[in-house]
């Protein structure tokens, strides 16, 4: 599933349970085109567009460009890629959520990679979680490792159980249906996986960089 890159505040924020006039909006500083139209700050509006058009069970992956008003530096880009995952059905639990994402992490890194989930906050998930994998540079030892700042863990994605308010905003019975969602930055994961030090390299399109991954 995919969705438009220019979105309305309704899809980008409010249908996703962002309260109006709330500091949670500050982390999503946006490019506005006029009125309530902005460049989407995440791929999560596609959750809403999907629920409006398809009945559960839903299991989708949503790749797409996202925009935040962050100036370029080594780890920030005003434009970045996101890959969203979203599953809605009867009987989906926190255990299914953890199992799916842990399996994904072990497939993309190594079958023995340690994974941990930590509490986090996103208005559209509850419980919310951040997933860490064992640092791929130091192997999780941590001590003196610059890549994981000595913690032994690398933050990979934000996720959680879909907030019932999101389902209710799409006229779905939140007592009957549950689900989970996650969003990750492929640039960030590629940086961790391949040891790329600066996100700007992705946008330079230097052929010597691109050839290393062709």
């Amino acid at each position: 599933m995919v969705g438009p890159e220019a979105e309305t505040e309704q899809y980008n924020f409010y249908a996703l349970n962002f309260p109006k006039d709330h500091p949670a909006l500050d982390a999503q500083d946006s490019f506005y085109l006029g009125g309530d139209v902005l460049m989407r700050t995440h791929t999560s509006p596609v959750q809403i567009r999907t629920l409006e058009h398809y009945p559960p069970p839903i299991r989708i992956v949503v790749p797409g460009r996202c925009y935040r008003r962050d100036p370029f530096d080594a780890s920030h880009s005003p434009v970045f890629e996101q890959i969203e995952g979203f599953a809605i059905d009867e009987g989906i639990t926190f255990v299914d959520f953890k199992a799916t994402l842990a399996t994904f992490a072990r497939r993309i890194f190594t079958p023995t990679t340690n994974v941990r989930f930590r509490p986090s906050f996103f208005p559209f998930t509850e419980p919310s979680a951040e997933m860490d994998v064992q640092c791929q540079i130091c192997g999780g030892g941590g001590s003196g490792c610059a890549a994981c700042k000595g913690t032994g863990w690398m933050e990979i994605l934000g996720s959680g159980m879909v907030h019932p308010a999101v389902l209710e905003n799409c006229n779905l019975d939140s007592e009957k249906y549950t689900g989970f969602a996650w969003g990750m930055g492929p640039e960030r994961i590629a940086m961790l996986r391949y040891g790329i030090p600066d996100i700007r390299l992705f946008f330079d399109s230097d052929v010597r960089f691109l050839e290393q991954f062709s």
Partner: protein, 804 residues
């Protein structure tokens, strides 16, 4: 940011910074860093001055006999407050002080000094209070200063999410840590001076019963005219305070979280903010006209000069605190210099309020200022605990600044609120978490962080503490259960699932086909990702209202300009051979005037410059002679791109005579162009070509099986002389038309220009493959066809057979 020492004071036990970070990350919020502070005092020792004598050669200097644990040394001291029998921080010879100063033995006015007795400023501990820093410690001389005085600290930088204002103070963080440590949180005592805890505390003042909207407290009239903006407003009057520097322990606490001590009254209010999250404000009563405190909406004519010296225009969206005449504070955001507490202040009015969060947010955004107070009000503070915060602030101020509270604080709360309650169903917990958590465990987990759970029918009635504005429905409590139990405690075993109803997005499938086709074309194309933001690339480009820079002011309506910039970047890096493609979204004016949302389309674009292919060992050793890509490479790639991205189009020569266009067979706008490009090229660069095609998102056409031929082909090569102005495509069209269905394939074998041909013409050789499905063709048949074809070509295009 919290201080480890401060948390230790609340939890009554030693802690370790890394361990705190790990516990917080697993249970509640990630920690961005643990920063040690005051580690630069590790050379400083505790020393006792045994004897003080006048320096023989200087009036203002003394000679001190100092016991620093390792024998008695003589030290020259310039501080007026040095006294025999007292204890001070001492830097021995060889010690390095904050700022990097290394102490050496040296003569001062003729007498050797073996070290230095230090002031607070020299130790980086704030302003000097009349000379060297007098310590009240039982630690024996020679004890490292950092062991005796609790200031070596770590700042723990917590990434607090917008929904958890309670984590913006030490008590809130300690509350979370207490769960995993099995500790209890107790507010530390508030000593009057020094670093030692003292006894004697003032009696905790009682709050008055909540009353309506105006009253008088100790001669000050307080009117709450904007209960929407300030639902609860408390005031206390303290008379006879002595404003001065804060005691060392308080200054240290504030410095440990990066705050600069100002004076004991302001520091006390800041302490309360960082300890229990209640922003407080102290006014100088003498400067309050009336004396009155009026809480009202601002009038459009109101202005105020805030503490930062800027005159601000207010709007009726904002709440202000006024005296009898004019505004003195932008409520919850910033005070004014006018009502500030100064050294001359003797009577103060203390404010503890709950301001409406969205009101504060709009106000600070409109004014473009924010403060530690507005940051907390905006997220929601604990309205129910205002009296506790007020009592603690009064206790602290009376301990460190004296003064008298003649009347209990006034509590204006026109619509008192009770703690909220939410029902929690055990069945819903297991439905969501996938694990059965016994009711007893749920109750224990929740009560550990301040919720009060009681069984009611078959549910739990859970009372929400005032400091948790984020908990508003059942699912929020389930998250509390999950995180306090520990996310690690849940299994992660894969179970079967039902596949979803949503089909794969046709656009993604189309993009994948295009990427595959271009990457596999063998042309060495690399996929680029350019910024969709740039300078306006057409008169109709969509502007961004709040761009980061003029270079990124518009959305792209074409891909090529961005790709050309990438070619130029590669040239600037000395790369001559650049073959890039991009697939991506472009933006155009919406056809529907009702919306400003642009229409979005997918394009594919290619840029080509430099060598046709990478050098291979079988090429000539003269590497420089590798051919550059030319216009035919462009056409080849254009046909490839059009074939996969816009299969309903034909490639035709552009009417301008340069390049090609992709024309819809059913008519309408061309779907793409291919042409030589201009760019900021270095002299050594090859020519640059580019193409861009609008992608038709459609399901892939399934190939239909054609029966394999059973008859042999007849192959004939045809060398023709083509006059200038006639394209090969035109010739091919005539050949195909005249040859009919027996002509299976038509391929250009060769092009020749030069001697032997009439000027202005070129020779082109086509290979014609004929085949009949049902019989073996005989030569006579193909000869007849070729004669017919040649006649037509000569008649319509003046194309003749080339004579050998």
């Amino acid at each position: 940011m919290v201080s480890r020492r401060w948390l230790e004071a609340l939890l009554g036990r030693p802690l370790e910074g890394r361990d705190i970070a790990d516990r917080l990350a697993r249970q509640v919020a990630p920690v961005d860093g643990v920063v040690p502070i005051h580690q630069d005092l590790r050379d400083v020792l505790i020393a006792r001055v045994l004897d003080v004598k006048q320096h023989p050669n200087a009036d203002r200097l003394s000679l001190c006999q100092v016991d620093a644990g390792n024998g008695v040394v003589e030290v020259v001291c310039g501080a007026p407050n040095v006294q025999a029998g007292k204890t001070y921080p001492f830097a021995p010879v060889g010690a390095t002080l904050p700022g990097g100063l290394k102490l050496e033995r040296r003569k001062i006015r003729g007498i050797e000094s073996n070290g230095m007795l230090c002031s607070a400023k020299e130790l980086g501990l704030g302003v000097d209070q009349g000379g060297i820093l007098e310590l009240s410690t039982e630690a024996p001389p020679g004890t490292p200063f950092l062991d005796a005085i609790p200031i070596a600290d770590e700042q723990i930088i917590i990434d607090v999410s917008a929904n958890r204002p309670d984590l913006l103070c030490h008590k809130g963080v300690a509350r979370e840590l207490a769960v995993s440590l099995g500790a209890t949180v107790k507010l530390p005592e508030l000593p009057a001076t020094g670093y030692r805890l003292s006894g004697a505390h003032p009696r905790k003042p009682d709050s008055r019963k909540p009353i309506a909207d105006s009253a008088v407290v100790d001669g000050v009239e307080v009117r709450l005219e904007d209960p929407e903006g300030a639902p609860r407003y408390m005031t206390a009057v303290i008379r006879g305070v002595t404003v001065g520097p804060s005691p060392a322990w308080l200054a240290t606490r504030l410095q440990s979280v990066g705050q600069r001590p100002i004076n004991n009254i302001v520091d006390a209010t800041n302490y309360i903010l960082f300890e229990i999250n209640q922003p407080m404000h102290a006014f100088d009563l003498a400067k309050l006209r009336g004396p009155a405190v009026v809480v009202r909406r601002a009038k459009p004519s109101d202005t105020i000069v805030t503490l930062d010296g800027v005159e601000r225009k207010l709007t009726s969206e904002m709440t202000v605190i006024c005296d009898a005449e004019r505004p003195t504070i932008v409520a919850g955001v910033m005070g004014s210099a006018e009502s500030e507490v100064t050294d001359a202040t003797t009577d103060i009015v203390l404010e503890a309020a709950y301001f409406q969060p969205t009101r504060i947010r709009r106000t600070r955004r409109a004014l473009g200022i924010s403060s530690e107070s507005s940051y907390r009000f905006e997220r929601g503070i604990d309205m129910l605990s205002l009296p506790d915060a007020m009592a603690r602030a009064i206790e602290l101020i009376r301990a460190i600044a004296g003064g008298e509270l003649r009347e209990p604080p006034l509590d204006l709360w026109p619509e008192p609120q009770r703690p909220r309650s939410i029902f929690l169903r055990e069945a819903r917990v297991s439905q969501l978490l996938g694990v059965t958590v016994p009711r007893k465990e749920i109750e224990q987990l929740l009560s550990a962080v301040g919720f009060v759970a009681a069984p009611k029918d078959d549910r739990l009635a859970v009372q929400i503490p005032g400091w948790r504005p984020d908990v508003t429905r059942e699912v929020d409590l389930i998250e509390e259960v999950a995180r306090l139990r520990g996310y690690d405690s849940f299994p992660d075993e894969l179970r079967p699932y039902r596949p979803g109803t949503v089909p794969d997005a046709p656009s993604e499938l189309t993009l994948r086909r295009i990427r595959d086709a271009l990457v596999r074309s063998g042309g060495g194309l690399l996929e680029a990702r350019t910024l969709p933001l740039g300078p306006a690339d057409s008169p109709d480009a969509i502007p961004v209202l709040n761009p980061l820079s003029a270079d990124e002011s518009h959305l792209r309506s074409r891909l090529l300009p961005g790709l050309i910039r990438r070619v130029e970047h590669n040239w600037s890096q000395g790369q001559r051979d650049v073959r890039l493609f991009e697939v991506g979204t472009v933006f155009n004016r919406p056809s529907d005037r009702q919306t400003v949302r642009p229409s979005e389309a997918l394009h594919v674009a290619v840029v080509l410059t430099g060598a046709r292919h990478p050098q291979h060992w079988s090429d000539s050793t003269e590497a420089a002679k590798l051919p550059d890509m030319d216009i035919w490479d462009l056409k080849h790639h254009f046909e490839l791109a059009v074939g996969v991205a816009a299969p309903s189009c034909d490639v035709q020569a552009a009417a301008s005579g340069s390049g090609w266009v992709a024309v819809e067979r059913s008519g309408g706008e061309p779907a793409g162009t291919a042409l030589p490009l201009e760019a900021d090229a270095p002299r050594w660069a090859g020519p640059l070509y580019g193409l861009e095609v609008r992608i038709a998102v459609q399901p892939r056409e399934l190939p239909r099986y054609e029966p394999l031929p059973t008859q042999p082909p007849v192959v004939r090569d045809l060398s023709l002389v083509v006059p200038g102005g006639v394209s090969a495509a035109q010739v091919e069209a005539v050949l195909r038309r005249e040859a009919g269905s027996l002509l299976e394939r038509l391929d250009v074998l060769d092009e020749y220009r030069g001697p032997g041909l009439p000027p202005g013409t070129r020779g082109v050789t086509w290979r014609c493959t004929f085949r009949a499905a049902d019989r073996t063709l005989i030569e006579k048949e193909t000869n007849t066809i070729l004669e017919r074809v040649l006649k037509a070509a000569e008649a319509t295009l003046d194309v003749r057979r080339r004579q050998a």
